[in-house]
Symmetry: C2
Subunit: 195 residues, 2 copies
């Protein structure tokens, strides 16, 4: 998605060979018009898949998901990382390892909102090691819902998440795939190279 690549090129900051900072438009400050364009692109890519609900994870997955949900006319549900006072019964949970923070988080959704009748589109802002996506897929599996695919805003193509998911036969649609952050420079994978 050219508009997204251009934004990453102009505003993304390469902090190391692993870390790209995009907090000026995606995961701290949010550019609503870009999110709308991203939402429309996810909607276009999954328009024939009978999606009934979008599943994402707080917090940075929410903005692109809500814009996709608006275009597709379906609700969004975001998995929570912490327990909530008013949300305790009938939870479906999964564990998510964070390699960067060296922690294991439990993420949860209410079983009221993800059921065996649903066909889910899973959306997240980043795909790196794939742990968050695997956690969301776990939740889908426990609920009995079908998963049409995973929509990712930025995939770090040099990490294992994309391979991990695609090797399981999961359809992954990443709007930008970064092949390298070497030498402080963002190198994108060409769309045609995405298998």
């Amino acid at each position: 998605m050219k508009q997204l690549q251009d934004k990453i090129s102009s505003e993304g900051r390469v902090l190391s060979e692993d870390v790209l900072k995009v907090d000026s438009f995606l995961n701290h400050q949010v550019d609503p018009r870009l999110m709308q364009a991203i939402g429309k692109e996810f909607a276009r890519r999954f328009e024939n898949d009978g999606i009934t609900k979008i599943l994402t994870i707080e917090s940075s997955g929410i903005a692109p998901s809500v814009m996709a949900g608006l275009t597709m006319g379906v609700p969004v549900i975001f998995a929570r990382k912490r327990a909530s006072l008013t949300l305790t019964e009938g939870l479906i949970s999964a564990e998510v390892k964070s390699f960067t923070k060296q922690t294991v988080n439990t993420i949860s959704v209410s079983g009221d909102y993800v059921t065996a009748e649903d066909t889910l589109l899973i959306i997240d802002d980043f795909l790196a090691n794939g742990q968050a996506a695997l956690g969301l897929l776990d939740i889908a599996r426990h609920s009995g819902a079908s998963v049409a695919g995973v929509g990712i805003v930025i995939e770090k193509g040099f990490q294992q998440g994309g391979i991990l998911l695609r090797d399981q036969g999961i359809r992954v649609e990443s709007l930008a795939i970064i092949d390298s952050l070497a030498d402080g420079k963002v190198s994108f994978r060409e769309e045609a190279e995405v298998r």
Copy 2:
């Protein structure tokens, strides 16, 4: 806002005299079309206030804020409750007490994105004791930004947050104000009664 009151009446669940569960459309599952209507209503109420940026807090403030930002054509920044690996320098922080969870959280935004040149609209999903809004106001104060007002999706009018903010001269625009949850019933304040 009638559409919001109707949604609360039909889908909100009163768990106690203090607790209203609206996780079917606002803070767990999200209704994107309702969020769009809410965003437009915030934009209408603050259209003459020269807003340059919306400030909110993860996670439930993000969806209504991004929709308001889309209508108003301004960026959204969400305060984070946890430290982030890629977000460590130049933070502006404030403390937020949670009465329900009996904890104190530090919330932070990057000083790159909230500056003395900004006129902020602060948005949150709920106003109860007002601690989150006060924390966001604290951050605005530290940054030197002006605050045009606070936009709230659901105000619990029987708790102290609304009085606390309005007594400081802060403009609070709540799209629904609940006067009571007694007897398992949601009682709304009429718009004309809002001072």
